[in-house]
Symmetry: C2
Subunit: 281 residues, 2 copies
């Protein structure tokens, strides 16, 4: 689990790093970003995972997400993984931004040729946390939270719903709440998981809740001017699923905001404060 440090910058009193390592889950080199806020020697800090959306790498939120100021103020480590395996021999459909590179959908693929590398669920929930625990001694792996944007909001919701004991908190920006019924995600689920849609339910936030998964509470921000709102995102489906089982959801419709990082960066500090409160509880 040797890490290669690709970049390291001081920012907001802490250190923003970019690292790569040989991933066993994805069977390729993987790159990720970690922000460690300023802290006293020996201090242990909670870890908040940010899962990114379609077409992104670790770099989009690192450059445009504006998370460091709040992370520094509240003493939270932010880890930003990539969104798919990459490199020679990794399956892809060039020109399709919703399948293959940049579109791992945070599932463990079972179908050829995807199953050889596309194991992003195992990567972000198991392998990379072990890497962080081994390489960042200030990381308190007993206090983890997860959030994300769009496809990464879906990733955050399923990671939390499938592991309610591991994550203390979960929130999302414009998440894909029910990918198995959205046109833009069904082709990826079919490619990665096969045609049996009963299996897809284990990788879908709304279906997981319908099938019994629970989490203490969820926070979701959604822009009303988001061009993907009605077709791909449909947060009201999560609202209905949560209401049916009395799972507390704070869904905030944010007037005039679109799907971009101008939206995410406007509310990322709110989310970090929200997670920090739950880490301190």
């Amino acid at each position: 689990m040797a890490l290669e440090t690709k970049s390291l910058w001081k920012a907001h009193g802490g250190m923003q790093g970019v690292y790569s390592h040989a991933s066993a889950a994805c069977a390729c080199a993987m790159t990720f970003a970690v922000y460690v806020p300023p802290h006293a020697e020996g201090q242990k800090l909670p870890v908040l995972w940010y899962l990114s959306g379609l077409t992104c790498t670790h770099a989009n939120v690192m450059e445009k997400g504006e998370y460091r100021k709040a992370a520094a103020e509240h003493g939270v480590i932010i880890v930003c993984p990539d969104t798919s395996p990459r490199g020679e021999g990794v399956a892809d459909v060039p020109g399709d931004w919703k399948l293959g590179l940049g579109a791992g959908f945070y599932v463990d693929a079972t179908q050829e040729p995807w199953s050889a590398h596309y194991r992003m669920y195992s990567y972000v929930t198991a392998e990379l946390p072990a890497v962080i625990a081994a390489s960042f001694p200030m990381a308190d792996m007993g206090r983890q939270g997860v959030f994300g944007h769009s496809m990464g909001g879906h990733g955050a919701l399923i990671a939390a719903l499938k592991n309610p004991g591991r994550y203390l908190s979960c929130s999302a920006f414009a998440p894909i709440v029910h990918p198995m019924t959205a046109d833009w995600s069904r082709p990826a689920l079919a490619a990665y998981l096969g045609s049996d849609e009963t299996i897809w339910r284990k990788w879908d936030a709304v279906a997981l809740i319908e099938d019994g998964a629970r989490f203490p509470e969820l926070l979701v921000d959604q822009g009303t001017a988001d061009s993907f709102l009605a077709d791909g995102l449909r947060p009201w489906l999560l609202e209905e699923a949560c209401r049916a089982v009395s799972l507390p959801l704070s869904l905030r419709m944010q007037a005039g905001y679109d799907h971009s990082y101008y939206f995410v960066s406007s509310f990322v500090a709110d989310h970090i404060v929200w997670h920090a409160k739950r880490f301190a509880a």
Copy 2:
């Protein structure tokens, strides 16, 4: 002075726009970014100019500068011009990042072929302010400040020193304080202004102060891990020039910070607060 709106995003409660227009000063189409913070109808807001560094366009700071949160909190409009003329027929030296495209150095060129388009001083201090006044009715052009990064820090310093009545405040991140004696800026000054170095003194912060220019006070942040510190930037030269004439300078050496936007974004809120205080005085 018709503006074309290229993009418009809601962010931190205000609107981040990108616009283009036909520039008379630069004799080409120019693109710039404006952030208008949330405000009451009829409210007038001060205007803070951000001048960018070598190789940048309006977009670098717009995406990575993290200025919107503080601008929204303090009610300040942020205008981010490009760093040079661009387009068909605009002179350039391909492969030289310190001359031509992205390297206007905020001077009015007098030498062929540069003088046809490279008039960034007139553009940022006269033409674009008139465009802003005409197109943004909430802009209070009686309350303007200027800041910038690296080459844009140089631009901010000379804009303020040459127009102490127009700008109420001036600050800079890692500015080129004495470009006429720095290896990386001398070739550009020679190309744009000719070989008579007495003329260069009108476009150089240290020389302007030595020659009698004054400004009420200056704020400069400089990272100690900046790889350009000793050769290109040398803030101690500005410190000496200011001390010699009792011009108040707050020079803050920031330990461990480099020349990147991770540095700028770490202190941009400090600077906006500093300017806002002077706008309110």
